[in-house]
Amino acid sequence: MTRINELPVMEEMNLVTAVTHTLRQEMQRDPSVRVMGYDIGPIGGVFRATEGLFDEFGPDRVMDTPLSENGLLGVAVGMAMRGERPVIEMQFLGFMYNAWGQFIYNLANLHQKTGGAMKVPLTIRATFGGGIKPLPFHSESTEAYLMHTPGVRVVCPSTPAQAKGLLAAAIRSDDPVVFLEHTKMYRAFREPVPMADYTLPLDKCRMVQEGDDLTLIAWGNMLHYSIAAAAETNASIEIIDMCSLAPLDVAPVLASVKKTGRCVIVHEARRTAGPGAEISALINEYALEWLKAPVKRVTAFDVFFPENQIEDAYLPSPQRIKAGIEAVLNYQF
C-alpha cells in the first residue's frame, strides 16, 4: 500500500480540486478514460469538479449528456464492454433512482452473470450528503441501497489525499465503482496532496486514530464530526474511517472491537437497514463475547430529508455523537 505522506511534491487541495486533479491525471495516463455527465463540459459541472477538462481534452473525452440518468448508465456499460473507461458524474446521488434499472440489470450483474466473460470497468462519481441545505433528493445518504447490490464497489473518501488515491483506483479497477463525494466536504478544508499518481485499495478501511476504550466508526463528513466528538471526551477512542463500504472491510472493525469492547457507528444514512445495522450485526455475529456494552448507532432518522430549519437535528451532530459515546462508555450490563 502506498504511504501517501511519503511521496514528494505536495500541493494543497480541497476535496473538489483533488477530484479534478485526479480526473486530469487519469485522463492523461489512459486515453480510454472519458468523463460524461450533465453540464460537465465547458461549464465544468454543477460543483466545478470537471473544470478545465473540456478545454484540455476536448468533446470526445469530456462529454456533455442529456438528462438521461438511466440511459447514460446503460451507455456507459456498453462503452465499458468495448474497452472504454467511462467516468460518469451523477450530479446528486438522489438522481440515481432514475438509473436504478440499468444499474442493477446490466452494470452490477454482468460480470457475475457471464461467469467473468464481460467486464464493466466504469466509475460513477455521485455527490451526496447533507449540510449544504439543498433539500430532498439533493442531500440524502443512500449508500445502503448501493451496498445491497452485489458486483458494485462503493467507496467514500473523507480527505482530499484519500480522494485522489481512491478515485484513481476506482477508475483503474475493472469493476464498476461508485465513488461518493460529500458536498459539504468539497471545499471544507485543504490538505497537501502528492502530485505523483498513486492508488489506494478499494476494499480497505482506514485507521484514523488508535484507542483502547471504544471503537468509533464513520465515513464521509460524519468522520469529521466523529473526530471532533471524540476529542471532547476523556476516553481513548479508536476511530475507523469506513471508506470502503462495499465490500465492507470488516476484519479491522472486529479486531478493534475485540480490543475496546465498545462500538459506536455514526452515519447520515437513515437508521433502519442502514449501513450501521449491517456493521452492528457483523459485530454481534463475530465479536459478541468481547462486548462490554451493546453496539450503538448514531444516525439520521427514518424520514425523508427534512427542511432546512430542522436539518441539523436530523443529521448526527458532534453533540449527538458525543452523547452516544458517553452512553456506551457508561453502560453497565
Partner: protein, 334 residues
C-alpha cells in the same frame, strides 16, 4: 386482415438461398426440441420461443458483418445461433450447464458470446437498448466501421429506456440499427392496448430517425431491407429504426392460455409462416427439390441431436462457485 403469404421470386443463388432456409430450420428444430426438453424438466425457468419469427433473425443477421455488435432480448436463441454460436453451447446454457456460454448462469434469456460479438440477451424488456447505444458510441469514438444491431420487441417501446436510447443515438448520430420485432403482443397485452401511437415508426421518426417497415415473415424482404439499412448506418447516416412485422406462433413463454388472441388469428398468421412459404418459393423456382429439403432437414436434426447430447453430457457448476465472479480478481487493487 393480414397480408397474403410472402411470395415471388427469390433473388439469390442456390447456396445463399439454402443458407437462409437452413438457418430458419435450425432455429425451428432447435426450439421444437427445446420445448420438448422443457416439458421433460431438462430446461427450467422461462423459455421464450421464436417459432414463427425466424425470418427476422435470419434475414437480418445475414445482412450484417462479422465485426458488428449484436444486442438482443430474452427471445434470442435464434439470433445467437445465426450469429455463429454453436448449438451445443446454446443448449448447454439453456440446461444451466458449465459448458454454456455463461457457465450456465444466465440460461435461455442471457446468451452472451464475445467471439461472435453478442453482447447479450436481456431478461429485462428494453434492458439492452442503452447498452447498444454505448457500444455504438465506443465505435463512433474509436472510428471503427462497425455498427450495432439492437433487437427488441414491440413491448419495449413503452419503456423509458427505449426513448432515452432513441434520443441519445439520434442526438449523437450513433451507428445503431434499432431492430423492432413487432409481433403485435407483449405477453398478454396487444399493442393497441398499450400504446397511444401504434405506428412504431412514427415514434422513431419523432427522434428524427429514418425508418423502414418490412414484412417480417418474408426472409427476402427482411434481408433486402436490412441490407439497405445497415449500409446507411455504416455510411455514417446515424441510427435507423427498422420495424419487422412478425408474429409468434407459440405462447409468450412456454405456457399461457392465449386469452389475448383468437385461434383463428394464429391460424391465419401460420399461413404466412416463414419456413414453409420460403420453401415453397424455392421449390417453385427450381432452387430446391424435395430430396434436398429432406437432406437439409435431416442434417439439421443431426445437429440438434448432437447439441442435446452435448448439453446432457455437460457438468453442473459446483456450489463452491456460488460466490465467485462478483468482482474481477484484481478489482480492489488495480
Amino acid at each position: 386482415m393480414i397480408a397474403p403469404p410472402p411470395s415471388g421470386p427469390v433473388p439469390y443463388a442456390r447456396d445463399f438461398a439454402h443458407r437462409l432456409l437452413t438457418d430458419m430450420l435450425r432455429i425451428r428444430r432447435m426450439e421444437e426440441k427445446s420445448a420438448e426438453l422443457y416439458g421433460a424438466g431438462k430446461i427450467r425457468g422461462f423459455l421464450h420461443l421464436y417459432i414463427g419469427e425466424e425470418a427476422v433473425a435470419v434475414g437480418a443477421l445475414h445482412a450484417l458483418q462479422a465485426e458488428d455488435n449484436l444486442v438482443t432480448t430474452y427471445r434470442e436463441h435464434g439470433h445467437a445461433l445465426v450469429r455463429g454460436m454453436s448449438m451445443d453451447v446454446i443448449l448447454a446454457e439453456m440446461y444451466g450447464k458449465r459448458e454454456g456460454c455463461s457457465l450456465g448462469r444466465g440460461g435461455s434469456m442471457h446468451l452472451f458470446d464475445k467471439r461472435t460479438r453478442l453482447f447479450g440477451g436481456n431478461a429485462i424488456v428494453a434492458g439492452g437498448l442503452p447498452v447498444a447505444a454505448g457500444l455504438a458510441l465506443a465505435d463512433k469514438i474509436q472510428k471503427t466501421s462497425r455498427i450495432t444491431a439492437c433487437f427488441f420487441g414491440d413491448g419495449a417501446v413503452a419503456e423509458g429506456a427505449f426513448h432515452e436510447s432513441m434520443n441519445l443515438a439520434a442526438l449523437w448520430q450513433l451507428p445503431v440499427l434499432f431492430c423492432c420485432e413487432n409481433n403485435l403482443y407483449a405477453m398478454g397485452t396487444a399493442l393497441e392496448n398499450s400504446e397511444s401511437q401504434t405506428d412504431l415508426c412514427a415514434k422513431a421518426a419523432s427522434y428524427r430517425m429514418p425508418t423502414i417497415k418490412v414484412d417480417g415473415m418474408d426472409v427476402v424482404a427482411v434481408h433486402e431491407a436490412t441490407r439497405q439499412a445497415q449500409a446507411r448506418v455504416r455510411a455514417g447516416e446515424g441510427p435507423l429504426f427498422i420495424e419487422y412485422q412478425t408474429y409468434r406462433f407459440r405462447a409468450h413463454s412456454m405456457f399461457d392460455a392465449e386469452l389475448y388472441r383468437s385461434k383463428a388469428e394464429v391460424e391465419e398468421w401460420k399461413t404466412r409462416g416463414p419456413v414453409h412459404t420460403f420453401t415453397a418459393r424455392l421449390k417453385q423456382e427450381g432452387k430446391l427439390s424435395e430430396e434436398e429439403f429432406l437432406a437439409l432437414d435431416a442434417q439439421v436434426n443431426t445437429e440438434v441431436a448432437a447439441a442435446v447430447a452435448f448439453a446432457e453430457a455437460g457438468t453442473w457448476e459446483p456450489v463452491e462457485h456460488m460466490l465467485a465472479d462478483v468482482y474481477t480478481p484484481a478489482g480492489s487493487q488495480p
